[in-house]
Amino acid sequence: MSKDVRERSIDPASQDMLDLCQRAGLETAWDRLEKQQPQCGFGELGLCCRNCNMGPCRIDPFGEGANKGVCGATADIIVARNLIRMIAAGAAAHSDHGRGVAHTFKLVSEGKAPSYQVKDQAKMERLMEEYGVESQMALAEAIMAEFGRQEGPIRFTRRAPAKRVELWEKLGIDPRGIDREIVEIMHRTHIGVDNDPVNLILQGLRASIADGWGGSMIATELQDVLFGTPTPTFSEANLGVLEPNKVNIIVHGHEPLLSEMIVAAAAEQEMVDLAKKEGAVGINVAGMCCTGNEVLMRHGVPVAGNFLQQELAVATGAVEAMVVDIQCIMPALGALAGCFHTKFISTSPKAKFPGATHMEFHEETAMQTAKAIVETAVLNYANRNQAKIHIPNVKTKCMVGFSVEAIVSALGGSLDPLLGAIKSGAIRGLGAVVGCNNPKIVHDWGHVNLVKELIKKDVLVVTTGCNALACAKAGLLLPEAADMAGEGLKGVCKALGVPPVLHMGSCVDISRILVAAAAIANALGVDISDLPAAGAAPEWMSEKAVSIGAYVVSSGVFTVLGTVPPVLGSPAVAGLLTSGARDVVGAAFAVECDPFKAASLMIDHIESQRRKLGL
């Protein structure tokens, strides 16, 4: 029963590996999605509540059966509670990542993490000024305090235009602290607390703002301080970056804390010598998912692929170690790695996996652990089974690393040339395309087609996360890709030597997009919701993506989702998200699974925003 791999991915490297997986009987996420069919309709509609043990309760969407849970919760209440619990989980994931980075920064300030240094002194000084503190230690403490803050405001939220902050205050959704808002969601959604769908959703928005303008932004800013603010650099993307004659180490997950050390350890002469002694010609570190994005944009470390390629990478048989930290790591990797010589190495005390070797990472001893991991990988090279090795001969060059600072620098020191191009209409507007992979959408099909449609219509695209990697593989992150853009955008890109799609980093780096949007809005003297800009997550699947969507809309950006969120069981909540929110935060969601239609929705929105601004 061979499946048509073209119905699973548009990426030739992935198609090649999917074909191999089928022949070898190796199970992937696509097979497991098939085995899950049909998926539970109550779950799909958000109509199942497991929040107390009088339940589980379900509401019959067709009105024949139960229309209330045991406690009396209606479909509207259940859907709203479930949705904001997803936001809580997503905001928690991003923010706990941010906390980890802040913790490392604090240890560095205390001299307790000798493996790390401050790489971007100027950025740290800007942050000290923003916080009004005099020392590195005081900055570390002030930022750590944001997580446990009780009465707000979170400092970085004040980077938003004043009008936006006023609106948040007026609506009562200006976050008081990062952890507090997440905790309050869990409290409010407990049996018998908040049972007003609108009030629930507003709390969801508040927690999401604490993520985007709080936890995520802290992660981005301090990662830049510790590891350097990204500047444009060239690299390569896709499974073809794995090397047949080198020790291949994949760093996968989300944090750069460990992967930065792995990259450094793998470059050390003693490790390279050891690799040569073991018969390899060297050591090749490749990234995967957002850990991949982090080391890609700071060091040009090649990236093996996005979320749905993690299993395919192991199936090449050429990976000595799959080293993972946190988030979006499939527990399936353990059993799969067991079919090969690949060592699946977990490193975070927060994230353990069946079938993994746990080599726990702590900041104080970061370099030692990194060296031990690299050595484990190198010594595993001898265990390769040459008969099982199959590396697709597919990789694409990409230009990455467009932090806000890098964009301003590429523009010659100010945003004016970009504003000029937007005003003249050469660039119609900005499209922020982000998010995961999801086997419910043909892999990369949603991402690549949406982005291509946008640039064709002169929309400058900024990208992060798995979309960024899909674009990299599709050749959209190259200055030459300007030829795929409309005449206006093409002219701007050629003049500046930049791609029409700007890689801004990992998923926490959507905070960079917020900073850029705020700067543009401030320069134009308007709110973010007035900008000719739109967002999209064409292949989203994670709870983090729900939080992202919520903070992007809360910040005033119209956002199109490519997979249906579990809210259709409540027409009231669905209506609030897709239209009611416009009157509240000046932006709303749309759901459109077809990337071509999604692009039209974004372009129509951008054009209507231009008309409102008189452009």
Binding site: P38, C40, G41, F42, E44, L45, R58, P61, F62, G63, E64, G65, V564, L568, G569, P571
Partner: protein, 169 residues
């Protein structure tokens, strides 16, 4: 002829069969559209709980079906070849004689219109929607011969295991 059989020990009460049935009998045949359809799509299979046991109930399409026998308007008809009992929409007047005589209580009613609704065995599908949706294999679409053969094999395996256990002891 294939029938819908129920393996009584397997039902978890997830109601996926009910959901899939309503969707299959909607105009759009997709969940996300069906939930906002008017008239509301109606299910023809019912998950009940009795004596601590969860159980899906669906029309047995009985030989000489009582619902057909009592129908005074010719709305309830049985196909002489397939044995499938179906209802001709235009003929139904909603007198509920069929509902009164059905021993399984699987004749429902339309939400907005006075009209009986019942399982039509999803004639346009190879496998009825309820069976396709069942995640635990509670619902089986098979001929009576196939079904009892499966049950026999399961029974034989069980007996064999028990016998081995006894021999060891």
């Amino acid at each position: 002829m294939k029938e819908v059989f129920v393996r009584l020990d397997r039902c978890l009460g997830c109601k996926s069969c009910e959901m899939a049935c309503a969707v299959e009998h909607s105009a759009a045949k997709s969940l996300f559209s069906a939930v906002s359809e008017k008239p509301r799509p109606v299910r023809r299979v019912y998950v009940e709980m009795a004596e601590g046991q969860k159980m899906p109930l669906v029309c047995r399409h009985c030989e000489d079906a009582p619902c057909v026998a009592v129908c005074r308007t010719g709305a309830m008809v049985q196909d002489p070849v397939t044995g499938i009992v179906d209802r001709i929409q235009e003929n139904c007047v909603g007198c509920w004689m069929c509902a009164m005589v059905c021993p399984y209580g699987v004749i429902g009613r339309h939400t907005e219109v006075r009209m009986a609704v019942k399982c039509d065995r999803c004639k346009s599908l190879d496998v009825p929607a309820c069976v396709a949706a069942c995640p635990t294999g509670t619902l089986i679409f098979a001929t009576q011969r196939e079904f009892v053969e499966m049950m026999r094999k399961e029974a034989a395996a069980r007996i064999a295991r028990e016998a081995k256990g006894l021999a060891k002891a």
